[in-house]
Structure formats: structure tokens, C-alpha cells
Symmetry: C2
């Protein structure tokens, strides 16, 4: 394809995208296709001869698009958001066109130095101390794996890297922690059995007393605590582990403290919503994902470390074919993470932070928090519904509870409610379990979500509730 054909199709695609952004709210947010529907429309064998871009683009629109769930839809209330923005999409276009590989300073000097700068910006924006250094990772799963590996090496004097783990090392996280911690425990060779899931308090945050008890018990049994993972904003209920109380325990027991603020970190860019960051200056590592709530295309997770030397000693590797004359003066970010190859992710962060400014990001954060608070008020005011966890930031956990139903039946009723609401195609919510109780999650955070969309969700949620005529509790 010559540059002029690229120009032709590029213009066509930009126009299509602009229309998509304009009309996305009219598409069904959750695709209604059934398993196998799309597969059956795709030829089993690859084409021998090339096809025209016109044909490919038609198939994209007719075959692929109906099978997509639209993450950028204003009715997106599922999981956590992965919100993007036009400036971020524009930056991704340039990133793709440059086609740069950012493993080393030499392979992309500007990308490396821009990464140093924008992670510094983010550090200031969320209020971490000066001496933390940042690096862009793909996901919090990977960043947390880096944290677990650093903790492992820190606890064994870098011996596990050489000989594996000789004596059990334990890791502590709340029972509400993200699944990536368990996965990381397996990957890094700790073994799942050495993950201690610490009890939570009423608000689903980690109980520091239970943490200390668990650590002390392990030490008594000759087992070495190596790491505590504190979560700021759990996936199920946005619970905030008390880092200010956990920090001193980590110091006392000489364990690594990793803070997973994958979603919530963005809120810290507004001092009015930064309270949960209290104590994070004590942590050894910290991760949050601009690709969740900071208008930046997936993937873009930012990992901060207090001591980059430990990270480098844990993950650094210097084969001859990668050595360059500049290695002593620069950051080679390949040594700051799992993968060797790296995309130029700093560019989209630079575009987003500059285009919106810190003020613009704060404004968005406040809009979303206000919308969630409004929804929580509606839930509280309607006796047929109950709030299942304190509303924090952008998440509301709730369920329909028409009264006098056994727990199992309540779950069935709420599963049916969720199916009915999602099948509208206008909004998309997902569920979780909190202390064995099935809950619906209303998670606000799309860039274009406004009051009208939250209102629409509430209307759709209330409608099936009308069926339940049994007396209400309260």
C-alpha cells in the first residue's frame, strides 16, 4: 500500500471513527451475539491472494462491529471503565505509524525520556514523594508481578533469582484483593498456599490487626513474611486498605509494601479525593492504571518504585546484542519490567495530560464521583433496594431486596434483573459477591457518561423491580 492509498483510507477511517464517537450511544453497549456467531462468518483458511482494503473495511463494519461490546459507550457501567479520549486515540495513531520499539534508550531516545518525564508528572499529580521513579507497564497484573518479584529478591538477598525460593515466603493481601495477586504468586514461584488472605473490616478494607496476627503467626512458625499488598479501591467494592496503618507493620516486620491502586489512583489527582493515599509514602512500590480512568487508551499502567536499584537487580539482563554505549547514562526500561519489547506508551499520556491539563482530569474525576453518589442516594431512598457496601469514588454495590426471600432466591432475582437490564443494550453492569451475597455493581467512569445515562440505568433497574410486590424491609 503506497502512502497515497494510506492517505485515502486513513481519511476514510478517521471519518468513520468521528461518526462512531458521535453515535456510539445509539449502539447496543453489550453485543447480543451468541458464542460462535462471528467465528462462523470468518473463512477457515487464510486468503492466498491479497484483498482490497474496501472489502476488508466493509467486513469490519458488517462482521466484526456487531460482535463488539462498546467499552466507550456512555452507558458503560460494567467492571471498571477503560476510558479513552480523542487526544489519546490521536496519539495512538502516531505511535502506530512510527512503529517504534522502546526497549532501550538507543532504540527510541525520545520515547525513553518522555516516559521519564510523564511518569514524573503523574507522580506529582497523585502526590507521591519525589524519590519515587515511574515506568509504564502494560497492566497492573504485570506491575504487581514486578512488585512480588522485587519483594522475593529483597527477602532472599537476590538468591531466589539464582536458586529459586528455598524456604517458604509469605505474602499478605486482604480477602478482597484482586485475582492478579493469586496469579502473581503462582507465576513468581511463591505458590498459592503462601498467600494469606487477611480478614476485612465492615467496609471490606483490610483489618490491620488481622494482618499483624497473620504475620506474627507465620514468623512464630519460622516462615518469612516477604510482602504485603494493600489495595486502594478493590474491584468488588472500592474498599480502601488503611495504608497508613499497614505501613508501620511492614516496617516492623521488614516486609515489602506494594500498593495496588489500579483504578482509584486517578482520583488522587484531585486533592479533595486524595485521602486514601495517606501512608503511601511508606510503600516500596505503587501501581495505578491511567488506562482505566485517566482518558488514556489501554494499555497504560504506571508503576512507581522507591528504589529502582532493587527493580533493576531483580529484572535487569545484559546480553551482548543489547549493549549500547549509553547504558551507563540512561534508563533502559526493558530492565524495569517483564517484557523486552515495549510500545511507545508515553506519547498518549503526554497528549492526554497536556490536552486536558490537571484541571481537566480533576473535573472528570469529580463528575464521575458525583454521579455515583447520586445513584447511591437513589438506591438508599428506595426501600426495595439495598446498598451492599459504602459508596466510594465511582462504585455503588447494591441489590434488589424485595424482602423475605432466602439468600439463594435473592441471588436468582438479582441475576435475572442484571440480565434484563443488560439486554436493553442501553447500559451494561456486572456483578460481584460480597461476603457470600450476590451484588450488582454500578461503576461510573466513561468520559461521556452524564446524568442522563445514570438516570437511564436507574430507570431500567427500577422497571423489573416493579414485579416484586412482596412487602419491603423497612
Amino acid at each position: 500500500m503506497d502512502p497515497d492509498s494510506f492517505r485515502h483510507y486513513g481519511h476514510q477511517f478517521v471519518d468513520w471513527l468521528a461518526d462512531y464517537f458521535e453515535h456510539i450511544g445509539q449502539l447496543p453497549v453489550k453485543s447480543a451475539v451468541k458464542p460462535g456467531d462471528i467465528l462462523s462468518k470468518l473463512p477457515v483458511e487464510p486468503p492466498v491472494s491479497g484483498e482490497s482494503m474496501d472489502d476488508i473495511f466493509v467486513d469490519f463494519q458488517q462482521v466484526i462491529l456487531p460482535g463488539m461490546t462498546h467499552w466507550q459507550h456512555p452507558g458503560w457501567f460494567a467492571y471498571f471503565p477503560a476510558n479513552n479520549s480523542p487526544p489519546s486515540v490521536l496519539a495512538e495513531m502516531l505511535t502506530a505509524g512510527l512503529g517504534s520499539q522502546c526497549m532501550s534508550w538507543q532504540t527510541s531516545p525520545a520515547a525513553t525520556e518522555l516516559e521519564e518525564r510523564v511518569t514524573g508528572w503523574l507522580r506529582q499529580m497523585i502526590g507521591l514523594p519525589d524519590h519515587f521513579k515511574g515506568v509504564i507497564q502494560d497492566t497492573a497484573s504485570t506491575a504487581t508481578l514486578c512488585a512480588l518479584l522485587s519483594a522475593r529478591e529483597h527477602a532472599t538477598g537476590f538468591d531466589a533469582n539464582m536458586r529459586g525460593i528455598k524456604d517458604p515466603l509469605t505474602v499478605y493481601a486482604s480477602s478482597e484483593t484482586h485475582s492478579s495477586i493469586e496469579k502473581g504468586m503462582k507465576i513468581a514461584g511463591f505458590g498459592r498456599d503462601n498467600l494469606r488472605l487477611v480478614d476485612t473490616r465492615d467496609d471490606f478494607s483490610m483489618c490491620p490487626k488481622a494482618l499483624e496476627k497473620a504475620m506474627a503467626r507465620d514468623i512464630e512458625n519460622g516462615i518469612k513474611p516477604s510482602c504485603v499488598v494493600a489495595t486502594l479501591g478493590t474491584t468488588s467494592s472500592m474498599a480502601m486498605d488503611p495504608v497508613d496503618e499497614i505501613g508501620p507493620l511492614c516496617k516492623k516486620y521488614k516486609t515489602w509494601l506494594h500498593v495496588d491502586a489500579a483504578f482509584a489512583g486517578t482520583a488522587a489527582s484531585d486533592p479533595d479525593h486524595r485521602w486514601f493515599m495517606s501512608g503511601t509514602e511508606q510503600c516500596d512500590s505503587f501501581v495505578f492504571n491511567p488506562h482505566k480512568w485517566m482518558l488514556t487508551n489501554f494499555d497504560c499502567s504506571v508503576y512507581f518504585v522507591k528504589n529502582a536499584g532493587i527493580l533493576l537487580r531483580t529484572l535487569g539482563i545484559q546480553p551482548e546484542y543489547l549493549k549500547t554505549g549509553a547504558d551507563q547514562q540512561v534508563n533502559n526500561y526493558r530492565d524495569w519490567g517483564i517484557q523486552l519489547g515495549r510500545r511507545f506508551r508515553a506519547l498518549k499520556l503526554w497528549f492526554v495530560i497536556r490536552y486536558y491539563g490537571v484541571d481537566g482530569i480533576r473535573k472528570m474525576v469529580n463528575k464521575h464521583i458525583d454521579l455515583a453518589a447520586l445513584f447511591a442516594e437513589w438506591i438508599k431512598a428506595d426501600p426495595r433496594f439495598e446498598l451492599m457496601a459504602p459508596q466510594q469514588l465511582t462504585l455503588v454495590c447494591f441489590r434488589l431486596n424485595p424482602g423475605n426471600l432466602p439468600e439463594k432466591e435473592l441471588q436468582r432475582v438479582n441475576e435475572a434483573l442484571l440480565d434484563e437490564v443488560n439486554s436493553s443494550g442501553e447500559v451494561f453492569l456486572t456483578h460481584t459477591m460480597l461476603r457470600g451475597k450476590y451484588c450488582l455493581r454500578m461503576s461510573v467512569g466513561q468520559r461521556t457518561t452524564d446524568r442522563v445515562h445514570v438516570q437511564k440505568a436507574w430507570d431500567l433497574i427500577r422497571k423489573p423491580a416493579e414485579k416484586h410486590r412482596t412487602p419491603y424491609p423497612g
Copy 2:
């Protein structure tokens, strides 16, 4: 930014990219900036108020671009290529605009099913048997980590996932293997000391006799061999480990066989260049990177497994908040890799394979191999130079050897030659070490590289050689 502003800047960026593609050959391929040059031009603090996209785009061109090393330049002969193509860039635009997260079938049904289909296409294209299943990973580093983890669980009956590695497990790879194997050994908790670097034959490929000896020795000492990593196309010299001879040894000793064909895999799409695949039907896992040589934007690495059940049992995880009604009928690719979050990478592969067709990819493969063969002929015909490894596929390892110089001095001469050639800005080559000898690597593989660019490289390489008037050997 509203859709119409996106449209405006989108068109502007497309025009810029089309011009960039047209004129990239006139830019210096390797940036001449010094460490810190770019950083010093970027404000230390993030902007409080938003800035205009016009200003941001000007800075992109004036501040960032001069600090980029241009991976898509036709004079790119460094490392391995990471070649892209206009159809791939167009697909990346759509991927960015959709902003989809492809962790589960439910979160993007079409992306999941397209991934199943295009990895099936690739499997057929490179000649792997029907029963291999594919998944798209970000990099070969990560895919190889998945292979090591699967081997670990296979060897311990899935006990290491629960308790860590209790008794040492060894892994075997040639002394020319990629650094990601060592890194993976550390990450997965095997420990670096349990990696056996097997001696190579004259052509730098793994010696099967040495492999068997190493395995037998470990077994004698009560240590369990768990995995052999065979490389097809080593980074230093494109050596091809004899998988057809290694396979039976893995069967005999019940070890996992992983094949790393990160770069070379693309050549297998042409039956005339598929000879090195002999024996790969015996492997348990296989990785190659369309993002290296198959016109597909970084990142895009394809990982094939013979038994997906082992991979799923090794990496699968089912927290309540990710469960969906379709889980029993679909692929949830989050359980096929390290990360939970996943980009929609299948789209660009679909665009590339359809636009070029299998024939178009074969044509490119042949062009690049022919160009490397031509360069190797020039090296062989010039008595001042010597070939340092057999030329295979697209890589030529060579050095200037004006005769009668001690090894250390020869290295200095070739380092100076490399610096001089690269400082031209017209081509970019990198180096390696082969059996203690410093070599230059001429690695062909950019989409737009033609004979004229290889000729330019040869002219630039020969020019400094004129300085050396000492008698030539032969």
C-alpha cells in the same frame, strides 16, 4: 474534544503520517541526540490547564521526532526489524478508537472469535499440525514465560502453582539462546542456576549430543529436567536448533519442548524456506512474532500450544467479578497468558493477512532473504571482510578483518566501523559476540528495504575499510 475536532486533527495526522511514510528514508535512521537532550526540553511539572492540540502536535514534531530512532526506515538493519505496514496502522487506528478490552469473550466477543480464527490462519501458514491452538501475546518474552510455567506445572503435577518448586527443576537451551529464557527462569522461580546452556555446533545451533549428556547428568544427580527451549533463528546469528533431533530426546526424558521462532517463524509461511520447522510437530509450545517480520505493528506475538488444558490449568483464574454465563462455551483469553487486560490485537493481523494475502507475505520473505544472500556474497568476495556465521534467512554476521590484528584490536576496529557507519544516519546496524569474537549484524527485514538500501549499507561499510592498508589474509 468533540467528534468534529477529532475529525479535523485526525485528517491532519493522517496526512502527516502519509508524508512520514513517503519521506522517512530522508530522515536519519538513528537519532543523533545525546542522553538528556529531550528531557531538558520537557517541562518538569504537568500543565494545570489544558493546551491546544495544535501546540501539542508542533511539539511532537519539533521536540519528540528528532529524538526518535526510525524503526520503519528502509535503512534499518539493526537488531531484528519490527516492521509494520499501512494496513496494520489502519487497523491500529480502529483498535484505538474502539478502545476495547479483550480479557473475556463477553467483554469483546468478536475480538475473541477473530483471535481464534487468525491464529488458526497463522498455524496453517507456518505448517503446524491442526491440533495446535493459538493465542496472541504481547511479546515472545511473555509467551516463553508461559511455556516455562506450563513446563513447571507439567513436571510437578501442578504442585508448584500451590507450593512453589520444592526440588530443583532444570531447563535446557543452547548457549546462544535469547536472554528472555534466563529472565523467565528467574521470574518463574526456577532460578538461573537451573538453566543449562548447552554447547553449540559449528553453526551455533544446539548440539543434541551435548543436550542429552546434560540431561542424563542431571537425572543421575537426582535433578528433574523439565523443559528444553529450542531456538529457531537465534538473535546473534539466526542459528537453527535441530528440533527434529531434540524432539525425541524430550520424549525420552519426558520434558516439555518449547520452540522459540520469534523472528524466523514468518519465513515458515513460504514452503521453500520452511526446512527449519522439521520436527516442530513434536513440540508442546511454539512462539513467533508477526510484529517482527510479518508487517504487523508491535506488539503481536503468537503462541501455539498442543494442549491448551495445561495452559489453562497453569494460568486460569476465576474471581466472581469476571464470571459470565458463556464461560463454558468460549475462550476467555485472559486465562491463556500473564495479563488480565488485553488489547484487540487480532484486528491488525486480520487486516495484514487479508490485504497482502499469503502470497504477498511470501514475496516479502523472499525479497529479504535474497537481499541478505546478496550482501553475504559481497562480504565473501571482499578479502578484507569475513563472514562470522553461515548466512541464514535475513541475517549476515561479519566483521572487517584487515589481518594480523590481535582480537582486542579487531574489536576496536569494528566498533569504530560500526560507529562511523551508523553516524551516517543512512543505515543502522548493531553488533553481537560469537564465541568471544565481536561481529557486526546486517539484519534485513524492513518492508520498504530494497537493493539500493543494502547497496548503500555496503558502500558505507566499505568506505572506512579503505583506511586499513595492512595486508589481507587470503
